[in-house]
Symmetry: C2
Subunit: 142 residues, 2 copies
């Protein structure tokens, strides 16, 4: 299961992707439109900002906007940012590899062998899906 926070992040990004180019959306608006607790969303957007996905303008008429094309933001990227590694096992993570302490031999590990296929399948889909894909009005995909 992905976290509620990741779900909110994706929905916020989708909302931003739907804004007019150049237009900044305000936290309160995004929160209302996507039914996200406002203070929680503040934190999430701040995270996304610190990680370089969005930019913000402060003060009156401030707001948030995407920092790169929605088509170039993959679900994988967002999930990694918010929930951490996408892989089902630490020893299969591309971005946060960690040996399993109790595993004597990685190449002989039966569980790892099986989950490698899962990880590949999962990533194939997640990498191929962008915020732009998800932001399309309805019907039709990719």
């Amino acid at each position: 299961m992905i976290s509620q926070k990741a779900k909110y992040a994706l929905r916020a990004l989708i909302e931003l992707a739907r804004a007019e180019p150049g237009e900044a959306l305000q936290i309160a608006d995004i929160a209302e439109r996507q039914r996200i607790p406002r203070k929680f969303l503040e934190q999430i957007l701040l995270d996304l900002k610190h990680r370089g996905l969005v930019m913000s303008k402060r003060g009156a008429h401030g707001g948030y906007a995407l920092l790169k094309p929605a088509a170039s933001i993959s679900f994988t990227e967002v999930l990694r940012l918010i929930d951490g590694p996408v892989a089902p096992l630490p020893c299969l993570s591309q971005t946060a590899y960690r040996r399993c302490e109790d595993c004597p031999s990685e190449s002989a590990c039966e569980v790892r062998r099986a989950f490698a296929a899962v990880a590949d399948a999962e990533r194939a889909v997640l990498d191929a899906t962008s915020i732009a894909d998800a932001a399309r009005p309805v019907r039709r995909r990719r």
Copy 2:
């Protein structure tokens, strides 16, 4: 990430799948061979027993054995049992469907649409992989 507990459960089942037919393996042996904390493994095996995956014999020379063919125990089944729903969103779970509270329309939910494909890909692999597959000595699969 799957839990440590699920990893232990899979490894224990793999170990049981490798036992001689009719032979019962003891907790202590499985724990040692697979480097699983013994008391923790007790709980896990008890769970697996209550869910009908394995059987046990008590008393001296007791132990555990699979209750059905290793080839008929899928990874999905074990994961569901130990970690709960396999789906990435509650509203995509086959076995524990739950509506997302903040979602006004499921059919219009962009996040759901995207993750449906992930769930399918994931399940396809997990359903197709059995304990018997994982228990094969090395090399070769399916």
